[in-house]
Symmetry: C2
Subunit: 492 residues, 2 copies
């Protein structure tokens, strides 16, 4: 990361004006090419106060076709944003593949504005930066082109720039007392920005420092850089080949052993169930209300074999929760808007507000289950997904969201019995189809994937609960009890 | 609208319990049928305080499969909602076709909570109700099944109910001082509710009053009603036949005359343009900032012939606006999520927050232009669309949003010249395709549709500005000037 120094001689106006028309044409050509490219472009324009972030953003918008680009600035979060994990507001502003977004100040502005001072504040600052770095890392891994530009001014250049803005009656209003305060605090703020850039630099997502003292040179440098990164990225990223099913071998046999060791023959009589059920439903109702009063939201994740009873368990569970505070999200085929985004985008969409509940009926774990088995994603993609899923859940729990994950486990015989029963019962026939039978033939492969999932994504902040589900009553009651305990522990 | 009186004898528990299992099965069957139905189901559960809205909503959620239904309650609007027109928050909570939503209190709760007293407040109350009625009317016309239930308690029943809730330690917390205040104010509030129901009743969206004193009878009545309405609706609504192009004849020849009378030969020299442009861009910049400071948002609508220069005009316009406050929405083929909703849903999505700007490059007027011509919607649909579009814009302008609508008009010869130029210029070739030539062959039909659009949707709150666009410079300057004037007038 080389620090640019101000050019001693400024770029002459006629040189600049001679270059602009060709540059604009190239930018629009880039946009046309982008339309059919399998990735989005994210352009961050950050920099010191007075370096002209807003100017550059507006200039680019003028040069580009505004129909293919959207601009975001992250000022004060709205209350809907504040009630969700930090990164939610950035996820909701991501362009789909084939489109471009410009971020004035980037998602980094908020972290920088925090002005950490003591040790604890610095720790939080670093933690926030780690979230941002991870955000960029997984988007880049998914193919996004992320171009991050830091417009740099030295202390002296900043002073000159602020003075020049003040001297012009058309721009004087843009210089505030805050700008001068920031200027006096230049050294500390500059060090902070360096720390930020270091923490969020990676080979795929480097920071580019562009000297901003010479505004014309700055403008050309920004456009040139964008064009160069786009051209290089496009060459690197050929249209992805559709995947195909691969042989499945365990990554972590311990998970498979844990799964197989689960005793499935659990008995619970109708009477015992009836007598306990209402007690636990009442407790769950209180636990959820207690969480809501503290502004804590809850996310339930239900995974399990076909016919393991996820639907019934969810029904039982939600019957204890006020329907006005609860959403059940059935996870099926993604919509085309969802397909045009990172695979986690469709789950971020439904993250609940403070005090609310979302129940995911199947979830982001599809990435390491069905997508792994069917080859819907590449081996590299599902392999890195374990970390991505852990980090996603860490972001939820760091925010205070309580994450409850259930795997409903079934014996192969019991599944067969239930499939047959569904086929024979008129109003259950819609619940069974060829795909269920197909998945059943791949039982062993699924078992391996579930084992790996358990081994690699069972974390103290979001542990997996294995539920023996051959006996439906036992499973339902177990889910109620475990949920109550986990919520109580999280609130303690 | 018959008023139910409390049943003198309550429904025995055993009768109730004997009916419930079959009812639940029917409800789930309904949900399965709904999945492939070409309409959504909207169920409103409203009623007097203490009538058990929450209870009924939760009960239904327990009976239904929670994966196919979502529940909403409109409490305090969030700040993102408050910054947009009244109906935005309801549009964002609509289920797509094939799914169901339950609204506790409905979208009517807020209007009822207003407690109008003087003449002016009553006028506003009635105006809000008219918006709600219109909302229901257009959704119903689009095929939605809207079932609205009012759970009714007499004054005495309400008192008994509140007392019973207070007597039970498990439910005592649910009775607040407010409930008793409402009870003392029963007569006035009941009259208000009657007025609300009258104002929002229509043949397709009637209110059903269900006596709520006997909770078991109430529960059965709600479920029975929902099932009956669904069954009847499904019979009435066969899968819609795909449309086909129809001969186009003018509805209002005056519009066509106005269009044809527009002088297209307007000259503006390069020099005159250059000298005026910056002045008007500066004025526009100030006008938009003035609007933002007052929290007023702006919506620009650009319609016009292919190659009329919409893109260039939008670029010129947005160059005067801070990109961070402005979004350009290119309106092309709807996504599958958009297709699963009412045709206005995709435009409501992008309505700007307070002080922000949205530019629609093509718009909701596609309904009465391309959709009318190509038969993408039925004759009944595009015929009623004029009113729907007027009402949509009235909702925006009532909220304070400034709506600027431009039709860029071109001679047929000039279009031909531009098409040829596009084909001959390498970097413009992506801007011309077979569809453009196809649309050109239907010039006369489009002209008629544009004329009807002008005649039927040119309103004082959102007038159409006809822009002669054979000369691009003239058109761009005209758009800048007209926009400045219209914004200034709106702020005056």
């Amino acid at each position: 990361m080389a620090k640019a120094s101000a050019a001693p001689v400024k770029l002459p106006k006629r040189v600049y004006e001679a270059r602009v028309p060709a540059l604009r044409e190239e930018l629009v050509r880039m946009q046309v090419a982008l339309q059919s490219a399998p990735f989005p472009v994210l352009l961050v324009i950050a920099g010191n106060e007075g370096a002209g972030k807003g100017e550059v953003v507006n200039l680019l918008n003028g040069w580009l076709d505004p129909r293919g680009v959207e601009t975001f600035a992250f000022n004060e979060p709205t209350d809907e944003e504040r009630e969700r994990p930090l990164m939610w507001r950035f996820w909701r502003c991501l362009p789909p593949r084939g489109r471009m977004a410009i971020y004035a100040g980037g998602w980094h502005a908020e972290a920088l504005a925090a002005e950490p001072r003591g040790r604890r504040e610095f720790d939080e600052f670093e933690r926030n930066l780690a979230h941002l770095a991870h955000f960029e890392e997984i988007l880049a891994a998914d193919g996004a082109l992320i171009v991050k530009i830091w417009l740099q001014l030295s202390r002296r250049e900043q002073r000159d720039r602020l003075r020049a803005l003040e001297a012009d009656p058309d721009t004087a209003w843009r210089v505030t007392e805050d700008d001068w305060n920031h200027h006096r605090d230049y050294k500390r703020r500059n060090t902070l920005a360096e720390r930020m850039r270091r923490a969020t630099s990676a080979p795929a997502t480097p920071w580019h420092i562009i000297g901003a003292a010479d505004t014309r040179a700055r403008n050309l440098a920004v456009a040139d850089l964008l064009l160069a990164r786009f051209a290089a990225h496009r060459k690197l990223r050929p249209e992805p080949a559709p995947g195909k099913p691969q042989p499945v071998r365990p990554l972590r046999p311990a998970g498979l052993r844990r799964l197989r060791a689960l005793p499935l023959q659990r008995e619970l009589s109708e009477d015992d169930y009836e007598s306990s059920r209402d007690k636990w439903l009442g407790r769950l109702n209180r636990a959820v209300r207690d969480a809501a009063q503290l502004g804590r939201s809850i996310v339930w994740v239900f995974e399990g074999w076909d016919a393991a009873g996820k639907g019934g368990a969810i029904r039982r569970l939600t019957s204890a929760i006020d329907a006005r505070d609860c959403r059940v999200i059935p996870v099926a085929k993604p919509t085309d808007e969802e397909k045009a985004h990172h695979y986690l985008w469709r789950f971020w969409r439904h993250i609940p507000r403070a005090g609310r509940v979302t129940v995911y009926d199947r979830s982001w774990y599809g990435r390491v289950l069905v997508e792994r088995i069917e080859g819907f994603c590449t081996a590299a993609e599902w392999r890195r997904a374990y970390d991505e899923l852990n980090e996603f859940e860490a972001q939820l729990t760091d925010h205070g969201t309580i994450v409850l994950k259930f795997w409903l486990h079934l014996s192969k015989d019991e599944q067969l019995r239930r499939f047959r029963q569904r086929e024979e019962t008129a109003y259950k026939q819609h619940k069974i189809n060829a795909e269920d039978w197909r998945n059943r033939r791949r039982w062993d492969a699924y078992e391996i994937c579930v084992g790996d999932m358990l081994a690699l994504t069972d974390r103290p902040n979001a542990p997996w609960q294995l539920i023996p589900a051959d006996n439906k009553r036992f499973a339902r009651l177990e889910i109620l009890k475990t949920s109550c305990k986990q919520i109580a522990a999280a609130l303690a």
